[in-house]
Amino acid sequence: MKILAIIPAYNEAGNIKAVIEDLKSFGGDILVVNDGSTDATAAIAQSMGALVVSHPFNLGIGGTVQTGIKYAFQNGYDAAIQFDGDGQHRGDQISKIVDPVQRGEADLVIGSRTLPGGYKMGITRFIGSRIFHCLIRFLAGKAIEDPTSGFRCYGRKTLALFSRFYTDDYPEVECIITAARNGLKVMEVPVLMRGRLSGHSSITRRKSAYYMMKVTLAMVIDAMRGRELIEEP
């Protein structure tokens, strides 16, 4: 199976080397999507032998992940994993999220920190996460314990769907609804994660009210849309 690791990176010069080294053993290609970084992120990634795609300016996390998804879809990969550039995700956990896709049991696998054996998160994030957990259960009938986790594996069908529909800002929770609504099999597995190496969350306290409103609205409306998945010929 041909697998691509997508690393969304914005000014991660301090972390990217360790992240790529961590990924060297996973046995697929490594793509760093450089979201208009103003530091040496792209140059370091290139020198480490990773594939690098650079946006001419900053698009945000959604657009960055989607660029990787489009690359994987257009270049015939069977699956892609999303692996954050800040060092939170661990290379030795990859097989846990890839295996269900490989066995054909899931189209979208989320690596979860809150399932037994996972990793603790901050209190604000925990509350937001619980609210989204309930919304997803109500809208899609699925119990996802850690819907904001960015450690994911996308199967071929999911790559096709998200190549077309993947929102620019705060896509993690909304895209679970998009996948479920189109009949894709969403699965969650417990994984281990690290604390951040450096940098801080993109969602500050001030932004979190807007974040909750935007994502809730997007989820409710997305659940009202019809089926949009187009099967590959």
């Binding site: 001419p56 800002d169 409103m213």
Partner: protein
């Protein structure tokens, strides 16, 4: 319920539903929809209780309550228009960068194609 109340209620609910419909059609982003949804909820709230407007107007020394509504409305629209101008500026900036980036990439591709042709020619000779 008098006719003005009914009309303003109808219009705000209409706008609310229209905005939701636009988002569902993917013609309006959630980011911008939130503003309009909040506005229509605010108007529905004002319609439901005229007392709120009267108390608010008198407390800031305005004796004709509807003028407070006009003032707030005009200021609000002003903020929205400034916000849109900022967005528009950002978009034209990125459009400008995209056009340049594309032109440079096109040139790079043409140069690569030319080099290849020359190499093939040299191999034939």
């Amino acid at each position: 319920m008098d006719l003005t109340k009914l009309a303003s209620l109808g219009i705000s609910i209409g706008i609310f539903v229209f905005v939701l419909w636009l988002v569902r059609q993917r013609r309006l982003r959630e980011k911008y929809a939130i503003l309009w949804l909040c506005t229509s909820i605010f108007v529905i709230f004002l319609t439901a209780s005229r007392r709120v407007l009267e108390v608010a107007a008198l407390s800031v020394g305005i004796y004709y309550p509807p003028s407070l509504l006009f003032l707030v409305g005009v200021l609000f629209l002003l903020m929205v228009v400034i916000g849109q101008s900022v967005t528009l500026s950002r978009l034209s900036e990125s459009n400008h960068n995209l056009a340049q980036e594309m032109a440079l990439l096109k040139k790079k591709l043409e140069d690569l194609g030319g080099e290849q042709k020359e190499r093939e020619k040299a191999e034939k000779v």
